[in-house]
Amino acid sequence: MVNSQGRPTQPQAGSENSSGTDRPTFTGNRALQLEEPLIFETGRTDITGVDLAEPDEFASRLGGHGRTAPIDLPALSEPEAMRHYVRLSQKNYAIDMGLYPLGSCTMKHNPRLNEQSARLPGFSDIHPLQPQSTVQGALELIHELGRWLVTITGMQAVAMSPKAGAHGELCGMMAIKAALTARGKTPTKVLVPESAHGTNPATAALLRYSVVDVPARKDGTVGADEVKRLIAEHAGDIAAIMLTNPNTCGLFEPEIAEIAEAVHEAGGFFYCDGANLNAIMGKARPGDLGVDAMHINLHKTFSTPHGGGGPGAGPVVLSGALAPFAPLPFVEKDGNAYRLVETEHDDGGSHPFGRMTAFHGQMGMFVRAYAWMLSHGSDGMKQASEDAVLNANYVRAGLADLMSLPYPDHPSMHEVLFDDSFLKDTGVSTLDFAKAMIDEGYHPMTMYFPLVVHGALLIEPTESESRASLDLFIATMRDLVMAAKGGESERFTGAPHFAPRRRLDETRAARNPILKWAPPAPYEEAAE
C-alpha cells in the first residue's frame, strides 16, 4: 500500500526494516535533527557578537548611579548565534510547514507581502512622538484600517490601540463601564457563557465585575430565554453580556439578536468576543446583530503572524452608544490631513475613558493587516470566510461517523468541535490522541477547550487549506481513530515518538519551577 505521498504506509514485506533509527549517535544529533544547548552553556561574557568601538574618555553624568556588579550575560559570536537560533527554530512546527488546526486561533497563511510592507523604513523607522506632520502616511493607514474594520463589522467607531484580543476586551469593557458611569449606573455583574474563552471572565474581573455563568443549551448555543431569566434574576445589576459569536463551539448563536435586545432593554451592553470573525466576513455584520463592542484579533482574522505567541493587535469596534467613550489616542481626518488626538479636547462629543497603552497601538500589525485587507478586498474577504466555513464542515463531514460530534444540530462555522466520547474505553485520552497527531506531521487541534464538552477537540482548518490538504488530514485522523479503537494504544500513549522531544513532564515543571538558568552546582565531592 502506498499512500498519497508515495510512501509505503506499512513496512514492506521482506524489508529488513534495518533503518536502525534507535541507534544512538555520539553527538545526540540525528542527521538534520540537531541538539542545541542553552546560550548560558555555550556563550561567554568575554566575547561579543557585535563590533562597537569603545568611546573616548568622557566625563560621566551618571551621578554615582553606575552599575557595581556584573550582569552575567553571555554572548555568542555572530556565526554561533546564527546557528543557535536556526537550530532552535528547527524544533518548531509552524503554519508554513503544514496544517495547524488550532481551534479559536485562526492559523491562516501569513503572506510575506505583509512582512515586506511592515519593514519599509517609512513604517518601521518612524517614532511615535515625532511631529504629526511627518507621519501623515502612518496616520492615514491607521484611519483607513479603522474604516475597513468599521465597514466589515457594521459598527460606528473603532479604538485602535489595544495590543491583543484580551487587551481589546478590556478596552471594550472599559468603554461599557464608562458609558454606564456616565449614565450614573453602577451595575456589578457580567453574564458570561461557560463556553467563553478564559480572557472573558478574567477581563470582567479586572473591572471588578462579578461573573454570572450562562449555561449553554444542549445544542451548544445560548438561549435567549436563559439570558432573560438571568437578567431578571439579577435585575438592574447586569452591566453587560460577553458573548462569543460564532461561539467557541464553532456555532453561530441563532438567538443573538434577541439576546442583544434583552440585554439592551435591561440597560446593559453587548460585548462580543470577535475572535471568530473569520467565519462571517461579508456574511453578517456584528453591528446588525446588536453588538456594542467587539475586539478583532488582527493576528487571527487579518493574518498578522502569530509569532510564537505574539505580538498581536486587538482593535475594538464600537456602537454609537459607546463611540464617545473610546480611549485616547485616535486619528481624525481633517480635510486632507490626519490628526492624532492624544489628549482630551472639548469638542463636547467625545469623552475618552482614558488610555490603554503608551503610544498608538501595534503599528507593525496595522500595516500587515491593511495589506491583507487590500489584497482580499470585499470579494476576497467574503470568499475567505466562506472557504473557512466550507473547510471546517468538510472536515466534519469526513470525520463525523468516526468521531463524536456533541452538537450535530447546527452546521459548524469556521471550526468544528468534537468531544472525546469516541475514545471511550480505548485507554487513549484527547491528549494522547493529540500527541499521536504530532507524529503524523500535524499540529494538534485545540484541546480541552471549550470546557463545555468532555475532552474537547476543536478543529479550525482556516481558508488557507487546499482540498488535498484536508483530504490527507481526514484520512490521517480516520487512521488514528481506527488505531485507537483497534487497541494500538502505544501509538498514542507513547506519542510523540519522532518529535525533537518525547512527552514532556509538565507536572514536574510546575512542582519545582526552574524559570531561569543557573550554573550547575559544582561537584563538591570531586576527588581532586
Binding site: 518612524i126 480572557t199 482614558g354 531561569k516
Partner: protein
C-alpha cells in the same frame, strides 16, 4: 485569489460531500434578516504588485528616522539592530507558529523564552522574569495590580518621574478597578519627596529610572521606606539599554521591575509592537501576570521546556487569574533575545557607555548655547533641556529644517505651562557627530 487554494469546482465538490446545496446552507443559523445581502462597501481584491505600490505610497508620506538627524526618545529609542535579528524572526518556524501549547514541537520557542527570561532576570538583577507583557506601559499597569494582590492593599503611589502615558495607563486601570492612586506632580529634576507619601495603606510605589525626564533616581532609600511600611517598590524603565551601565533595580531593592524592552532587537515601529519586560522576586512568582517557561524533562529524561505555573493564567483560572493577558509579545522577545545574545555582557555594557558618552557630549554642547540649559543633574542617554521659548514650536521649526530635535514635554504633559519650554533630547549609538552638529547649529540659530 492567490491566498485561497480552492477552485469553484473544488467548492462545488466539497459542498456535495458535505451534503448541502449551497454555501449559504452552512450559514443558515444567521437570522435571515441579519444576513448581509450586498457586498461590503469596500474595493475588490487586488494583486500583490498593486498592494505593494499602495503601501510604498503610504510609507513615503512619512519621514523615517534614517533620513534625518533624529533625537526623539521619550520611551521609544532608535538603536541599531543587527541584520541577523530580522533574519531569525522571519524564520517561518518562529514567525508562523503560535503559543507553545504543544511543547514537543515548539521547543524552539520555549527554549528562547527560557533564555529571554534568564536574560531579563539577570539584567534587572531579579530572581525571575516572565515571557513578556505587551509593552512597558501595560506592564506597569499589571505591576500595580500585582502589588495590590501581594499586599492586599489598593493604593499605589506614582512618582512624578513616571512616563506620563504609563501613568495614564495605570490611572485608567485603577479608576476602572476602583483602586486608589496617589500621583505626584511632574518632577523634571528628580527632586520629589516620594518617601513622605508612603503609608500603611500603600501597596506600592512606582518609580522610573532613568525618569521620563532622563534623571537617574536612587531607589535604595525608597525601597527601604516601602519595605518598612509593607509596601512594594515597582521600578520602571523605558530604556533597557541603560541597564548596561546603571545599577539595576534588583540591586536597589525593587520588588517588581517592569520596563520597555524595545531598544534591544526591536525597531521604532511608530510605537508598536514593543515588548514589556517584567521581573520579580521568587516569593511573588505565583502572583505574576503573564506566561512563564520552565525547565523539565521528557519521557526519556532529556531536558526540555514547557509553559508552566499556568494556574495563574486566564485559561485555567478564568476570573481568578492574575491577569487577562493571553497573546503577548512572542516574536519581539525573540528579537530581544537574539540581539542580547549577540551583545552579551561585553556588548551591552559597551553599547550603554557609547550611548552615555554621546549623550554627555551633546548635553555639554547644548548647555553651552545661550537660552538652552540642561536641567538634569544625572542622566543616561536622554536629558531634558529648557529652551527660551515653547519647545513644541522649536520642534516644528527644526522639523522644517529636516531635524527631529526631540520630544517636547508638552506633547505628553499638555496643560502645564511650567513644562512648555522643556524638550527631551535622546542620543543613541546611531547618532552621528554630524547630526549633533546640525542640531547644535540649528538650535543656536532658532534659540
Amino acid at each position: 485569489m492567490r491566498y485561497l487554494p480552492h477552485t469553484d469546482q473544488d467548492r462545488a465538490d466539497m459542498l456535495a460531500r458535505i451534503g448541502v446545496g449551497s454555501i449559504d446552507d452552512l450559514f443558515a443559523d444567521i437570522p435571515a434578516d441579519k444576513r448581509l445581502k450586498a457586498p461590503l462597501d469596500l474595493p475588490p481584491h487586488c494583486g500583490e504588485m498593486e498592494v505593494a505600490r499602495m503601501m510604498r505610497g503610504l510609507a513615503a508620506k512619512n519621514l523615517s528616522a534614517v533620513e534625518t538627524p533624529f533625537f526623539a526618545g521619550a520611551g521609544a529609542y532608535r538603536h541599531h539592530v543587527p541584520a541577523m535579528v530580522d533574519h531569525i524572526i522571519q524564520r517561518s518556524e518562529f514567525l508562523t507558529s503560535y503559543t507553545p501549547y504543544q511543547p514537543e514541537i515548539t521547543q524552539g520557542t520555549l527554549q528562547y523564552l527560557f533564555e529571554f527570561q534568564t536574560q531579563v532576570a539577570n539584567l534587572t538583577a531579579m530572581d525571575v522574569a516572565n515571557a513578556s507583557m505587551y509593552d512597558g506601559s501595560t506592564g506597569t499597569g499589571e505591576a500595580v495590580l500585582m502589588a495590590h494582590r501581594v499586599t492586599r492593599r489598593n493604593k499605589a503611589v506614582i512618582s512624578g518621574g513616571l512616563h506620563p502615558q504609563y501613568r495614564a495607563v495605570v490611572e485608567n486601570l485603577s479608576q476602572m478597578a476602583d483602586d486608589r492612586l496617589d500621583i505626584l506632580p511632574p518632577d523634571p529634576a528628580g527632586s520629589e519627596d516620594i518617601i513622605a507619601r508612603i503609608d500603611d495603606e500603600t501597596s506600592c510605589v512606582v518609580v522610573q529610572s532613568p525618569s521620563f525626564y532622563g534623571q537617574l533616581i536612587d531607589m535604595k532609600p525608597i525601597a527601604e521606606a516601602c519595605h518598612a511600611k509593607g509596601a512594594l517598590l515597582v521600578a520602571v524603565f523605558t530604556e533597557v539599554v541603560s541597564l548596561g551601565l546603571i545599577e539595576p533595580p534588583g540591586a536597589q531593592g525593587a520588588d517588581i521591575v517592569v520596563g520597555e524592552g524595545q531598544s534591544i532587537g526591536n525597531g521604532l515601529n511608530f510605537g508598536g509592537p514593543y515588548v514589556g519586560l517584567f521581573a520579580t522576586r521568587q516569593k511573588y512568582v505565583r502572583q505574576m501576570p503573564g506566561r512563564l517557561c520552565g525547565e523539565t524533562v521528557d519521557a526519556e529524561g532529556s531536558r526540555g521546556f514547557v509553559l508552566t505555573l499556568s494556574t495563574r493564567e486566564q485559561h485555567i483560572r478564568r476570573d481568578k487569574a492574575t491577569s487577562n493577558i493571553c497573546t503577548n509579545s512572542g516574536l519581539c522577545c525573540l528579537a530581544f533575545t537574539v540581539h542580547m545574545t549577540l551583545l552579551g555582557e561585553a556588548g551591552i555594557t559597551r553599547l550603554a557607555r557609547i550611548n552615555h558618552a554621546k549623550a554627555c557630549r551633546l548635553a555639554e554642547r547644548l548647555d553651552a548655547i545661550t537660552g538652552v540649559s540642561v536641567i538634569n543633574e544625572s542622566f543616561f542617554n536622554e536629558f531634558t533641556v529648557r529652551l527660551s521659548e515653547d519647545a513644541a514650536e522649536t520642534v516644528e521649526r527644526l522639523t522644517e529644517r529636516g531635524i527631529v530635535a526631540g520630544v517636547p514635554v508638552s506633547r505628553l504633559e499638555p496643560h502645564n505651562p511650567d513644562l512648555a519650554d522643556m524638550l527631551l533630547v535622546a542620543v543613541t549609538e546611531t547618532t552621528t557627530d554630524d547630526e549633533m552638529d546640525r542640531l547644535v547649529t540649528a538650535l543656536q540659530e532658532v534659540a
